[in-house]
Point group: C2
Chain length 203, copies 2
């Protein structure tokens, strides 16, 4: 057992390791404690429930993802189209690294938790929905830049098109995870460029 | 308790009801038996495990989905573009009906099981992967028809574009489930038309 003051951090690392690799429902507080090397009383000192731990884990992962994927992809001087493709490429690299270690592609933790928990836990559903809203702002930024540069139609509905891009990203991750093959991301990612010319729902 | 000969059917209905509404891991054999109104010995007469039941449930749902969604969408004389939109619309209607009854949008059972189980159960992962391959054939059929009619580029990579469409469908379902709002499908579904002009991964 490590120092008690590390326990919170180690529980979040354990949750990242086992819940993000497996599922939320399937992982018990006992398993999380064993993985983190902390006692159950220590768990309940820091978190009132598994739900509270997973919320802290989403928080922690969101910060990591912003620093390592969103900012390096979107806050750059490359073209808006290249920013979106870089986003997919950085995720591809992460998924390949995870598969190399565990044999499995884990997919997007936010997407995984959404499909597993949305009908069962409103607090988790709303937390991830808020995360998706943050990601959408990065896509909107790229789309606005593309509009300013004239590389997408001036009439493009930015907010809706950003949603098509996020939907496409999550769907590509789902197909890739279903095949346990991160290279699916490489095969499909330029579909995002086609969506940048989305014409809106009213035909 | 109903007639024993109905037990298999009722277990599949129970699995459709609770596993598709909640999750695979979170639902026990006891819950499935209680929902179906069958004894545990009756369960094990028909199925060796929860896994075997969920495989039979996927089989049963796949047949239903083919008859009620895929065939009415894709095996018609409307334009290929309209076939794809009808596919999204029929799913939207189903999701709205489910939300009306339970308060929750369930999303796509195949997508849900993929993200929950792909790292944990190879048999379930491969069964759903096979299901996705069957759906892809319907998308390919529509794309080939569009190519014959000249409404998509003659150089379109049919197999890859079909995958972009399936990915987009699953991603739209994920976003809609995350918001518990089936109308997201209506807002985003014409993104599929933009993907029909996908230009391939090599830029």
């Amino acid at each position: 057992m490590g120092r008690p003051s590390d326990a919170r951090k180690r529980l979040i690392e354990a949750a990242t390791e086992v819940i993000f690799a497996q599922s939320y429902t399937g992982v018990s507080v006992d398993t999380l404690c064993a993985t983190a090397g902390v006692t159950k009383s220590s768990f309940y000192h820091f978190f009132s429930s598994k739900q509270e731990l997973v919320l802290a884990t989403i928080e922690s992962h969101a910060l990591w993802f912003e620093q390592h994927v969103l900012i390096p992809s979107f806050l750059t001087n490359i073209s808006p189209q290249e920013r979106i493709l870089r986003f997919f490429c950085l995720v591809l690299e992460m998924q390949q690294a995870q598969k190399m270690i565990s044999g499995h592609m884990r997919g997007c933790p936010a997407g995984n938790l959404t499909l597993e928990m949305s009908t069962q836990d409103e607090v988790i559903r709303e937390r991830i929905e808020r995360l998706f809203q943050e990601w959408l702002q990065y896509f909107e930024l790229a789309l606005r830049a593309a509009q300013e540069q004239g590389s997408v139609p001036a009439t493009l509905d930015i907010a809706t098109t950003a949603q098509t891009l996020l939907a496409y990203f999550e769907g590509v991750m789902l197909l890739a995870k279903g095949r346990n093959d991160p290279t699916v991301i490489r095969t499909l990612y330029t579909g995002a460029l086609a969506l940048m010319h989305y014409q809106g729902p009213d035909l």
